[in-house]
Amino acid sequence: MSARPLSGVRVCDLSGQLAGAGATKYLAAMGAEVIRVEDPIRQGQWDLLRGIGPFVDERRGINLGGGWNNHNLEKLGVTINLKLDEGKDLLRRLIGASDIVTENFSAGALARLGFTYEAMRDIRPDIIYVSNSGFGHGGPYTAFKSWGPIVQALSGLTATSRLPGQPPAGYGLSYMDHHGANYMTVAILSALIHRQRTGAGQWIDMSCVEAGASFIAVLIADADLGGTAPAELVRHGSNRGRSPDMVPHGVYPTAGDDNWVAIACRDDNDWNALAKFIGEDWAQDARFAELRGRIDAEDELDGALQGWTRRHDRRSIAAELPRRGVPAAIVARPNERIDEDPSVSAWNLFPIVTHSEIGKVRVEGFPIHLAKTDWHVERGGPCLGEHNDVVFGDLLGLSPDEISGLRERKVI
């Protein structure tokens, strides 16, 4: 195992769901000591994924949720009841021992418990505190609730995923939970670098809606300038190739049930190669030889092309066209892109970890490899309060009797 770059960095992690926990998962995989703090009274279920499926077998329970495990690898888990003064004292001690505090409650929730940035800075002057919420702190929507699909609706992402003549399809996932976590990671690493240079911590306020807008920044700027790109996207749908113009460019049905192949002709050479591969008269139509003609006859061309793809196997198309220089890929099902893709296997993108109760289970790794200081995961997410003794005893110096007392008084 290579050296881990964030060793020696400790995170007091009050975050959850994917939008928060995904960020601290990366930090933990890079060697940070991430201490995930959960509520013992609600059994950590502020995080909707705690104890929720998928499950590896017929067992059910608060520690067995597959998504929760995936997002909390390599972390330590403690429970603290923050409604009690003793619990707040315990959190203060943990913050004092930490470099970073992370959370993604609704804006202001942690402050209402007494943990403002100023209060944390009094405990530890160089603390880095990162708040990640849907709308950020400040502004008329500060108290509003959100999750991935709402962020995507307001940031313009939902509207820019669609077919012509249809309402928006949006995203079939909480895309901005992933990228909320990813931008939170960028924010944390930037703040660490700043602190290393200057010695100063800071409070970072992150709004997932604002981060989401950056994912379609060009479309937003174009619309603001009176450009036509967003209207073209509505008219043609997002599967077609605009900016730059590419025709044919789409997702086409193939033989079998719900089987699809994506084909993108970037230029006339690509089209000529595709037309030759198709080998039928319609594909030799002189109108299609140049881009302008293909754009003018795009509906007709797409219709003819899908008439051809329907009679063929998507895998053979996706295997053969790239060899001829034409971009093509199957619309991969999860099993196909996870289990049947040699690039993914070579990357070790889905490693196996061991969870205390679940056992061995496959999880998502990361799409980057650092040659000298790479990520490493082998331990699953913590069971509820699994590391109370280690963290409160070894780290904070409480005696076994003191920890027992905290348990009896339902502080932990």
Binding site: R197, N239, I368, K372
Partner: protein, 411 residues
């Protein structure tokens, strides 16, 4: 005030796959020098285009994705330029590269650069990772998002319609954030040890792990999700979260109500609008106001399922009784999650983002003043900020040459 990367030089070898990362690092304070060939970066010729001040067509894409950078032109046919590029790389803390090492248009060899410069961070963004022979195959955003799994999860309930690739080059966007994460991690490590290294970013892998439960449903339970209109792809079908306001605006009803308080709020709001009679299962809504509903019981317990469905229906009725904006604001002000579906042109003018001064206006020398999304996070001690508009082709060649060349020499 300086960004966190003040003093860090990034040499970006112009390529569409690394320009968003370069912008992010530049806005975080790095001195990003984008290296272009004499014919200019490919992105300069990529739309969408608007009519520039001069009357010519100008790329919005270039002007948005290349702020906070300087531009240097290198003609690799000229030995002096090759020397200049070598000096530039030698001066760099980070090189951003989207090219395949075997077909490198700048003739650079990352292996020897890394060997010769112990502190250099070389971030390479390729379709499948630097050592994968599949990089020889052509890709586009469409094929990367299809092969990586994003497209499988997006689309409509009607599976006669094709699955959908979201707009905005999301394979590039996703890879770009990961390239930034890897680069920042490597910079952090270098600050502590002096050691540089290769950061290898696979675009295919980046898309592949950005599919939320589609991946872990398969990894954990061996089940496959299927696309649905406007909501999470799921193993078992779920109800649509979309509702339509009386002005035909599309709203998203967010996480459906489950708590007693949420059901009580829905009932009260319906009564305020005189619309409770339009809910067919009012009895179940009233039961929800007494008991709430447990997440685990939805789908298995018929009563719980009916209560859950009544909450959904109440939201649809409420949305249809008012404009989309009124529903969004009314729901949120009552503590119920909701969103309104904005077109791209509406985002920057939302009152919340206006009050937060989110948009930045950049005085682009070609296009003129243009607004674009601002900081993805607010870090007051080391802020994200646009330091300059997107550069003209080779606009900074002379000043960069002067800063590199020994006094009196001619590069």
């Amino acid at each position: 005030m300086d960004g966190p990367l003040a003093g860090i030089r990034v040499v970006e070898l112009a390529h569409p796959h690394v320009e968003v990362t370069g912008k992010l690092l530049g806005c975080l304070g790095a001195d990003v020098v984008v290296v272009e060939r004499p014919d200019g970066a490919e992105s300069r010729r990529r739309g969408p285009f608007v009519t520039a001040k001069s009357g010519a067509q100008a790329s919005v894409s270039w002007s948005v994705n290349n702020v906070s950078k300087r531009s240097v032109v290198i003609d690799t046919v000229r030995p002096a330029d090759r020397d200049l590029l070598a000096q530039l790389v030698a001066s760099a803390d980070v090189v951003l590269d989207g090219h395949d090492v075997d077909r490198h248009p700048f003739g650079l060899d990352r292996r020897s650069a890394l060997a010769n410069h112990a502190g250099l961070v070389w971030t390479s963004v390729t379709p499948y990772g630097v050592d994968d022979p599949r990089n020889a195959e052509p890709v586009t955003d469409l094929t990367l998002t299809a092969g990586g799994g994003l497209v499988w999860s997006c689309g409509y309930d009607d599976h006669a319609l094709p699955p959908v690739r979201p707009g905005g080059d999301q394979s590039v966007q996703t890879s770009s954030v990961w390239a930034a994460i890897g680069t920042l991690t490597a910079i952090w490590h270098r600050m502590r040890t002096g050691d540089g290294q290769l950061v290898d970013v696979s675009m295919h892998a980046a898309v592949n792990i950005t599919t939320e439960q589609a991946s872990y449903e398969w990894l954990v339970a061996g089940t496959i999700v299927n696309r649905q209109t406007g909501r999470h792809a799921a193993v078992e079908p779920t109800q649509s979260p979309f509702a339509v306001g009386k002005d035909d605006r599309l709203v998203h009803t967010g996480v459906p109500p489950r708590s007693i308080r949420e059901y009580q709020t829905l009932l009260t709001w319906l009564r305020e609008l005189g619309a409770e009679s339009e809910v067919s299962d009012l009895l179940f809504l009233e039961m929800g106001a007494e008991t709430g509903v447990e997440y685990d019981a939805i789908g298995s317990d018929p009563i719980a399922t009916a209560i859950y469905g009544a909450g959904r229906e109440a939201m649809l009725v409420l949305a249809a009784s008012q404009t989309g904006k009124d529903y969004f604001l009314g729901a949120q002000r009552r503590g119920l999650s909701a969103g309104i579906v904005y077109e791209p042109g509406e985002v920057l003018d939302d009152p919340h983002l206006v009050e937060r001064a989110f948009a930045v206006t950049v005085d682009d020398p070609v296009i003129g003043p243009m607004r674009m999304p601002g900081p993805p996070f607010r870090s007051p001690a080391s802020p994200w900020q646009v330091t300059r508009p997107a550069p003209g082709l080779g606009e900074h060649t002379a000043e960069v040459v002067a800063s590199l060349a020994p006094a009196g020499s001619e590069a």
